[in-house]
Subunit: 368 residues, 2 copies
């Protein structure tokens, strides 16, 4: 349901039209925004479950209108912390997905071994070979090296709208110690953080890293969710009360947002629970979670821009930008996965899904 | 001589030469093409026998129906042991073929030199740079290094549904010693093992590695088969009794399954012999054997899932999962090779055939 302090669309639209002080472009953009949102109403009625998010309309609402006056970076600057000797595909999938959705700049911070490979996947990414694994660091140098690694990432921190921590991170103890410090720095700088993959392995054992941070999003799959529930709620996963349990989990971690991936994605910030159930694809090839984390990073950044542009007076619900980012990211991945599967069937790979991100976004929310 | 309906090559050529209505060269080339096709079909007819497998129906029977409730990994996790300083294409072909057919995860365990290259071919693969060759290991360190290499692979072993040992493995003595240990570990964990390429060079001289292991498949080409026959049966290849000789060979190695690659693929587990003779492609570009080993790995995994789900009560024959995997893999490669050749003719490469795996599977067994 779309409301703004009891005003209906027309009155909001008129108030925008009659606004004498605003420059025409601003009014026009505001109108275009409202008109996009207006497209929603009929579909809202169709929503069956009270939990089901109005995903496509939320995606439309938070995706910015193109503005020729904007410059590089304003549509989003995202950084992925991940990529080690073993894993190079996951951080690439997350970082390139962010660009394919519309981010202007996408960085990857990975180990020295992983950097040339990730760079070779695409010239579009900015890849920083700054992380280190135990095998390349002597015990004596660890403190010094750790400070250097964290400083290397920190000097970029302020530029990023969102951090994705975990795709292809691996589980090297020294590397994870450094990443813990990077998470603390990001939190200090109030940068939103999406934790996925091996980042969840780290955080589940160190909940203090994200606990109570409203700009943190955890995106566990079946097994990662099981570990999280056991650790935080000290019980087993209860699918009879999936919504209630997810709500308690998110609340227990101090209001972080948890996106539980599954046949339906369930999302909660400890206040509300929403689900995204649009049919995606039955293929479960590895890498789809990385597309999701990169997508959520972009949509979360856009949602925060929208909220600050509207001084918090959002005409969509929910109003928590982390919830909005998760809902839009989940909806887009499902749409792209279904388009890729239509075309490739059993041979669908993650790169095929990434190739469908642009068309999916255009289908839901045309650029112009 | 190639004969059809009593017409021989010479008379067909003459009829072409005497043809008045078309330019002689065009007619001649057309006739030569027809003769090639007719020739092959003629030979296929001669091969069709009680031995010919009902390949397409077997492929349909073992390929799982999609289930949205399944999660990542349940459609198959395959590992290829191969890739060294000299060879990087072969393990890539095997591993990517497994994904293109429908496996969820595909790993490669290769040498440190080979890893960045194999990774760069595709972000979809998980590539572990863990194998070592003699040139990089001092004599003193060999025992310690060997234990480390085997342990690095072994810690992943339980996760895999099937191992492919050999594509691009090379023949370095130290590396092959480590791979012998890896084969022993896989056998201990009852993981199916497909032995191809340089893996066959290793196994032919160390038959004890696979002898008596019912989950082992050997996939020799003409020369590898010749060596195997000489070593095991102590005689030359006898094409007059190809089926009988293959049966004895597989029985002699204690009931492993042998897929003899040729114009018709012959497959035996020492109990029965089956052939797959669908027409594939006349191109013999290197790498097709790697597609086959990766494909057999996936179909074998699916066949085992089907058998355990039905508690052994299969309505298809044969019922040995290694036979089923070989038959389905052979049929799919032949279909993909023929589609690729239709499109690319003389310039058909292995990557073109891999690109046709999905369409071939869809033609035989539509996803939905």
């Amino acid at each position: 349901m779309i409301v703004k302090h009891g005003m209906n669309y027309l009155s909001v639209l008129n108030s925008a039209r009659n606004h004498k002080l605003a420059p025409p472009l601003a009014v026009l953009r505001r109108q275009q925004f409202l008109i996009r949102v207006l497209g929603v109403r009929g579909e809202n009625i169709m929503q069956e479950s009270k939990f089901e998010a109005d995903a496509d309309n939320i995606l439309r609402a938070i995706t910015p209108v193109f503005d020729p006056n904007r410059h590089k970076g304003q549509a989003g600057k995202v950084a992925v912390i991940g990529g080690c000797r073993e894993y190079t595909g996951a951080p690439y999938f997350a970082a390139i997905s962010a660009l394919k959705i519309g981010a202007d700049l996408s960085h990857v911070f990975c180990t020295k071994d992983a950097a040339p490979v990730i760079k070779s996947y695409s010239p579009e990414l900015i890849v920083h070979p700054v992380l280190e694994e135990s095998y390349s660091v002597g015990d004596r140098d660890k403190d010094h090296m750790s400070r250097r690694v964290v400083a290397e990432v920190d000097k970029w921190m302020e530029r990023f709208d969102c951090l994705v921590v975990g795709p292809g991170l691996g589980r090297d103890p020294f590397l994870l110690d450094c990443v813990s410090e990077i998470i603390k720095q990001a939190r200090q700088a109030s940068i939103p953080i999406i934790i996925d993959g091996d980042g969840l392995f780290l955080v589940t054992d160190n909940l203090g890293l994200v606990s109570g941070y409203p700009l943190a999003i955890l995106t566990p799959n079946v097994n990662e969710y099981k570990r999280l529930v056991q650790k935080v709620l000290n019980c087993e996963v209860n699918d009879q009360d999936a919504h209630g349990q997810l709500l308690s989990l998110a609340k227990q971690i101090g209001g972080v947002t948890v996106l539980r991936k599954g046949m339906s994605d369930l999302i909660s910030d400890g206040e509300i629970v929403k689900s995204v159930s649009n049919y995606g694809s039955p293929r479960r090839c590895g890498g789809q979670g990385d597309i999701l984390s990169g997508s959520v990073a972009v949509f979360l950044s856009w949602a925060r821009q929208l909220i600050s542009a509207n001084e918090g007076n959002l005409i969509i619900s929910p109003t928590n930008p982390t919830m909005l980012g998760c809902i839009a990211g989940s909806a887009l991945l499902r749409k792209a996965a279904s388009l890729a599967f239509e075309d490739r069937k059993r041979s669908t790979l993650t790169t095929d899904i990434i190739e469908c991100l642009g068309r999916s976004l255009e289908d839901i929310c045309p650029a112009c």
